[in-house]
Structures are given as structure tokens and as C-alpha cells.
Symmetry: C2
């Protein structure tokens, strides 16, 4: 990759670096808001955040930026050409929305988030409905401004998963749904189910943290370029490329929350820590898409962290931190317990087999909303019907149903599919990786570094040079293929549930 | 105070608010750099810091700012008039230095800090000398650009303590020095000295922290508008006016570091938390000077925290956190031990009686350097001579002498006198406060709030509406008068040393 730039290219990168600096401050503020800030400090800080977002917007949509785009579109340097593509997309997306309309939308969504919080607390969809109606209407208009070839929803999907369309999803989701339903049926029919009761016992936070830190360290997370803190809604954040922080939350009666949560966020962090240093401060030095990002976190959480060999290797270490009562749980029973499959209402608490169904429900509803085939007022019933249809359970209130996720309050339509895509990408990547690096053997060797190295070289270092489906093809030799996920689940769970 | 602004005044305040926002980000970054950041993240963060400092500089020295200054200089609103005075001073100070010269100076001082760090580690002044020579030369030029009436050093003093001049200092320092020397002589001659040995014992960090938090809480520090973290060089910082953080460091073999350090920084924080909410986001909503700030931290650290009545009241609570061995130390002996007076090399570890002498040494050397009466190359010897003369001890190396403080490496000439001024201000304020609020009685009532309230009303709420000596006059009824400090020390230490 070319690292020598012309004078103009250097100027462009210097200009872009300012955007990165504002973004760095925004991310530090975001991290602080969610981990450290005393509550009275929030009000003034939000004003600073808003000034900096405005500065990013100004720099992204300036005439100067347009000049760089026009002058560098045909650069001989592939990094610059791709960088220009990426900033041009941002430029166009922003420019197509009238300034006043965008302002109104920003105000609406910032109010909507607190209304949603209240509505969820009261489990009262009607409170949130008028806001959601407006947000949907805005997103429909935005989709029209941005344009699309086949389906209006494509315009929104493209913000999170460039190149992925309704057509792509509709080619895989129905079959995935059928396959998962069959597997879940087998699970339900099993007469030899795991029992999670013994592991749901008091486990002091400090000990959970110490074990989680050990695992993070073994994954190859660089603590000189990151840190672990506590928060309410866990996340990983690249404050800058050499300061990638992870956060977690602790439930002292269910260690799975912090342990698997930390491994999940650690997977995101390894991606950010693994970006190519030669690309620092260029637009291509970023994760390629939400889906590819999620493929990395789910890879570590599920394919490593919930793997049987992993616990063969780590159970003794785990017992050093766990309360004494765990010593009475045979390793095999422990492994089955952490992999219990059970349809439940809340997406973020779902097991790995039912999880994609939660996503499909959201995808179908979003797609129909944006295409004006359904109305916001009917969402609670439609949601519950689909839950019953897909998972066999019906939420008794909106908090456990349509109100559970924050995404829509922020206007993030098109985001949810990335979670399921990430899971399928991850399973495909797992198959490819396992051919060069034997995952179980690496774990048994007590050396996870070959896994990390493969992911670094094949995914992380490439930044945003390619679009997600092109990268997937390059890395796995094929397009999106849900069979890898289904096969993984079938292999794993037939042993756990003895069918 | 007027809180209704004309349209133009509002515009000016909106403009100024941007500077505050950048300053807020700079302070959050500074806090994070000194408490949380992983080491590899520092490099890129410094570039962001430098961009934001440049933005502050641009906004402070813009033509737009000049227009506001000219249009609002004669505002009928006293808050605006004073605000304009303050921003105009900044504007002029910055404008008078040629841009290129200032850039060179910023680079020099940023290099000088790491050179100083190395020089101190190696105790080798010669390493640092060439940098210090340049820094002094710059400061001489700056003083000439800025101008002064009587002494060139006045131009530098004015940056930290507006209105205070060499003349002011030379009227008080010689007598203060003589008085302190006499007291120190009595201490040295005493045959009944305190013994600090028993208190210098292992005291777990967590317990020190818990006790320190209790004291902070009782001082009235608002934890909803602040937090306590660990750091290497403790500080308090107003990230914004509702987010004023304190930091401390722990020595597990000397609890005094963390306990008195936290109370000291807590005193700074009460000042920042006590600013008038009606003045938020105006230039007058800031501490009046370094000296007045220090008067607040020293007030709490010494006049409250090292006070005999305080320990009468708090010793039982302290023993709940302290190791068992403290139970064998009678309260009276404990109190004497925490107030041991002993000439020592390092300023920041000095006791309250010898501390001002450390400052006078620095003041005299700075003044002579800036007036070109002495040369940088002669500093180590001159320093040691003065130490011997004032404190009766001679450093054996530069690390314990001329290289101990970071200030000169950053070009902060004129800063040191604020420490001694703050101490004298503090003692004067103590006398005034004690007449309306009996300090000892408040402590005995287990209610420090009358003390905080008095300081809030008489000092904190006034922000920067007045200059330090005018405020002092208003609050204490007299000009700078070192007798209050000397009398305080004499009263206190004649009991401790039984002379």
C-alpha cells in the first residue's frame, strides 16, 4: 500500500486529520459520559459535544472538502482513491439533506431518547409513538434524498453495511429462519437439557473482573493501548487508534454478563487495535462496517469464549477466581450450562441460537415501516405476533417487547441487520480461519495468538479499503452463506442437547 | 449583578462560550492524560490537544473578538465591562508576541519539559541549562513586549497575580523571612520535639481513600459535581463548573500525602464549585488568581486539616480506617507528629513553617534572572547558597536543589510567588472568617458548612469581578499583611514545641 503522498494528498490528509481530532474529543467525551462523569457535569458537556459535532459536519461538507474530492478522485494512490470515495459518500449524504431539516431531526432524536427511556420504564408505547412516527417519516424522506435502486430501505442499510441490500438479506434470512427453527425444535424436544441453576450464584465483582482481565490479556488485547472500565451499557471505543477502551457491567449473581461481555467487547477492540499503523489518520483507517465489526466481537465471544475446548483449557483458571461452590460443578455440566438455549424476550440476553431470530423480527418491521406497508401504531401487536411466531413466546408488555431497544429512538433504521450479518460473517470467517489455524489446537496450546494474528492480517489491517461483501469473498472465497452458522450451531448443540 | 444582556452582549457571550467549550475539552483531555490514558494513546492525543489550543488562541485573538471588545468596553453591565477587561488583556498579551516567536517558544517549552525530566533523573543541571537559558531569554523579551512600570519581572508576575508587583512582594517578604527564621530557630532549639515515627507505618491505600472521601464530604465537596481519582502529581480541575474533579496520590507508608493532599485539592475544588451560577460561561466566572486559589487550598489543608480541634473531632473516625497500631498513639502525640517542622530540600514536602522560605528563594532567583543580574549557569550554586542561608541545609545534588520543580521548564516565571501570597492571603482570610464564624466551634459542632458558606459568599461567588488585592481588602479590611500568618504559626507552634 502506498505510503508516499503528493503535496496535495498530504494537504488533504492534514485537513482530514482535523476531523479525526474532533472525533477523538467526541469519543473521549462519550467514554467519560458513560463511565466517569458526575451527573451535574452532563449538561454543559453536552453543549461542547454538540459544538464539536457541528465542527465535524462543517469540515465534512465544506467547499474545501469538495475541492479535495474533485482533485484527488483519480489519484494514482489506492489509499487516497478509496479515502476520497469514503469522504465523498459522507459529503453527499450530508449535502443531500436540507440543513434545517437535519437540525430538526437532531433535536427530535435527542428528545426522543429520553422519551423512550421514560416509555420503557413505564412500559407505555403510546408515550413514544408520536416521536417514533416522526422519526420514521424523517427516515423515509432521507432515504428518498439519498436514493436507492430497488428498495427504499436499501438507502438506510447502506449507512451501516455498504453494498448490502434487501435483496441480499432476503436471499438468506428466510432459510436461516427455517434452519434455526428446526434446531430450536430439537432443543425444545430434548430430554437432556443443561441446568444453569448452579452457575447462577454470588460471584464477587472484583473476582469477575480479574478473570475477565486474564482472558482479555490472553486474547492479545494490548493494555498499553487500552483499559477496562465499568458502565451500564457496555461498549468498546477507539478514542484514538492507540487508545481503544473496553467497558463491561457486572451482575454479581450471573458472572456470564461480565465475562462474555468483556470477551465480546474485547473482540471489537482487537479489530480497532489491529488497524494498519501506516493508514493512521486516513479515512480508510476504520472498521469496514458494523457487520464486520460484530463478526469480530461474536467470533471471540461465541467461537472462542463459549467453546468447549476453551473451557477444557480455562476452567481451572476460572475456578481460582470463582466462589468455592463452583468446584462442585463438573466441567462438562458447566460448559452445558453456559450454553443453555431458551427463547426469551430480550435480545441482548438471548442465547446464540435464538439471537438471529430477534434480529429478523426487527428487520422485517423496519423494512415494512420504511416502505409504508405498516404503521407505527400497529408495532406493538406486530412485534408480539412475530415473537410468538418465531420464538413461541409472547411478551406481556411493551418493555419486554417493542420498547426494549434504544436504536429507533436515535433514528438508527438499518442498523439491526448488521448484528445478524456479523454473526453469519463470523461463522464464515471461522470456517476459513480454522483451515489455516486450528482453533481448538491453538486453545489447547494455551496460545490464542495465531487466531488473533490471522484476524489481524486478513481482516483488521485492511481497514476500509474494501466493502464488506468484497472482503468476505476475499477472505472466505464465497459470498454471504448462512450454512456456516447453521452447521456450527448444529454441530455444537447436538452434543450439548444430546439429540 | 446584572444578568440581562443586550443582543450584542449575548452574541459576545455566545462567542466566548466556544472558547469555554474548547477549554472544557482541553481540561478533560488533561485530566485523562494524568489519570486514565493508556500510554500509547498519548502521542495522538497530544496532537488533538495542540489543535484545540490553537483554536482557543484563534478565537481569543480574532478580529471578531477585537470588535466585541471595542463595542462593549463601555457596557452599562458591570459583568460585561469586567469580562471585556479580562478578554482584552488576553487579546493584548497574545497579540504583542510575534506569531513565529510564540510558536518557537511553544516548541521549546514542550521539548524542555522532557529534557528537564531527564536532567532531574540524572541530577544533571548542565543537560537542562541550554534550554533554560533560551526560556529565560524568551521571557525577558515577552516582558518587554508586554511592558511594565517599574520592574521587568512585574510583567510576568501579572500573568499569575494581577496587580501584584515586585514592590508589593519586597514590602512583605524580607520581614516574613526574618519572622519565620526566628520561629524556626525556636523550633530547632526546642527540647520537646514531636516524633513522627509512629505515624509512618503501613496504611492500606483503600482505607486512606475512604477516610479522605469522608473528609471531602464533610467539607461540603459536591460529589454529584466531581469525583476523586488517583494520579502521580495531584491536582484539582474544573472540567466544567459542574464537574470539578480532584486527584490524589497514596504513599502506603505515609498517609499524610493522601489525606492532606486530598484536603488541599478539595479546597481548590470548593472554590470552583462555589462560583456563581449566574456567571457561568462568562469570562468573569473563573478563579481570580493563582494566589487566591492557593489561599483556598491552604486554608483547608492547614487551618482546618492540621488544626488541633479538627483532630479532637476526627481522631476517632480516623482510627476506624487506620491500622491498629495507631490506637496506641495518644491523640496529642498524633497531632504534634503531623505538624513536625523540619527544614528539608523539597518544596512540595515542606512543612507549613519552612514552606514560604522555599518560595522566597525561587522568587529572588527568578527576579534576578529576568533582570539579568544573575546568569542561568550560576543557578545551582546560588540556589544551594540560599538554601543554606535560609534553611540551614545545603542540597548535595541538583535533583534535590535547582532541578526539583517543573515550572521553569514550562516557562512559568512569575508563578512561584503565588504560593507564598496564597498562604498569606489564606491567613488573613482566616482571621476575617474567624470573626464571623468561629472555626474551632464549627469543627466541634461537627459542621464545617458555616466555614464553606462564608468562603462561598465572600470569595468564591465573586469570580474574577475584582483583582486579588482589591478582593483581599474588601474581605479582610486591609492590604497584604504577613503578620496574620506569622501570628498563626507562632500561636500554633509554641504549643507544639513548648517554647
Amino acid at each position: 500500500m502506498g505510503n508516499t503522498y503528493t503535496k496535495l494528498e498530504q494537504e488533504f490528509l492534514e485537513y482530514y486529520k482535523q476531523i479525526e481530532s474532533y472525533a477523538e474529543a467526541i469519543k473521549l467525551i462519550a467514554w467519560d459520559l458513560r463511565t466517569k462523569i458526575p451527573k451535574k457535569g452532563v449538561k454543559r458537556r453536552s453543549e461542547t459535544l454538540s459544538l464539536f459535532s457541528q465542527k465535524v459536519h462543517e469540515l465534512t461538507t465544506s467547499d474545501q472538502m469538495k475541492t479535495y474530492i474533485d482533485q484527488l478522485r483519480d489519484s494514482s494512490n489506492p489509499v487516497i482513491r478509496r479515502s476520497v470515495e469514503l469522504v465523498e459518500k459522507e459529503y453527499n449524504q450530508s449535502k443531500k439533506i436540507p440543513v434545517e431539516e437535519y437540525k430538526e431531526y437532531v433535536e427530535l432524536t435527542s428528545q426522543a431518547e429520553s422519551v423512550w427511556t421514560e416509555a420503557r420504564e413505564k412500559s407505555d408505547f403510546e408515550l413514544f409513538r408520536p416521536y417514533l412516527e416522526k422519526i420514521v417519516a424523517f427516515n423515509i424522506r432521507f432515504a428518498e434524498y439519498w436514493g436507492y435502486k430497488e428498495d427504499r430501505y436499501d438507502a438506510l442499510l447502506d449507512n451501516f453495511e455498504p453494498g448490502v441490500t434487501v435483496k441480499t438479506l432476503d436471499q438468506v434470512f428466510p432459510k436461516l429462519r427455517d434452519d434455526l427453527s428446526k434446531l430450536i425444535q430439537k432443543v425444545n424436544d430434548s430430554s437432556d437439557k443443561p441446568n444453569p441453576e448452579p452457575i447462577l450464584t454470588y460471584f464477587p465483582k472484583e473476582n469477575q473482573e480479574q478473570f475477565a482481565l486474564k482472558v482479555l490479556e490472553n486474547m492479545g488485547y494490548d493494555f498499553e493501548a487500552g483499559r477496562l472500565d465499568e458502565t451500564v451499557h457496555p461498549f468498546a471505543i477507539n478514542v484514538n487508534h492507540d487508545d481503544v477502551r473496553v467497558t463491561t457491567r457486572y451482575d454479581e449473581n450471573d458472572f456470564r454478563m461480565a465475562v462474555f461481555g468483556t470477551v465480546h467487547e474485547g473482540g471489537h477492540a482487537l479489530y480497532e487495535q489491529g488497524l494498519d499503523k501506516d493508514l493512521y489518520d486516513t479515512p480508510v483507517c476504520s472498521a469496514i462496517s458494523m457487520g464486520i465489526h460484530e463478526s469480530q466481537s461474536l467470533f471471540w465471544e461465541n467461537f472462542v469464549g463459549r467453546n468447549e475446548t476453551f473451557w477444557d483449557q480455562y476452567y481451572n483458571l476460572f475456578l481460582e477466581y470463582a466462589p468455592d461452590s463452583f468446584k462442585d460443578i463438573p466441567k462438562a455440566e458447566f460448559y452445558r450450562a453456559i450454553n443453555e438455549v431458551k427463547p426469551s424476550f430480550i435480545r441482548i440476553e438471548a442465547d446464540e441460537m435464538t439471537y438471529p431470530l430477534h434480529i429478523m423480527i426487527r428487520y422485517e418491521l423496519e423494512k415494512d415501516l420504511i416502505n409504508e406497508k405498516i404503521e407505527v401504531k400497529d408495532l406493538p401487536k406486530l412485534w408480539n405476533d412475530k415473537m410468538e411466531d418465531y420464538l413461541g413466546i409472547r411478551p406481556e408488555n411493551d418493555a419486554d417487547g417493542v420498547l426494549q431497544d434504544i436504536h429507533w429512538s436515535g433514528g438508527d433504521f438499518g442498523y439491526f441487520p448488521s448484528y445478524a450479518l456479523g454473526y453469519m460473517y463470523g461463522a464464515q470467517i471461522r470456517s476459513a480461519l480454522d483451515q489455516s489455524v486450528n482453533i481448538d489446537q491453538s486453545i489447547r496450546n494455551d496460545d490464542l495468538s495465531p487466531i488473533k494474528k490471522w484476524l489481524n492480517e486478513n481482516i483488521h489491517q485492511k481497514g476500509s479499503m474494501k466493502e464488506p461483501l468484497d472482503l468476505l469473498k476475499e477472505v472466505t472465497g464465497e459470498g454471504l452463506n448462512p450454512d456456516h452458522l447453521v452447521n456450527y450451531l448444529e454441530d455444537k448443540y447436538q452434543k450439548i442437547y444430546n439429540w
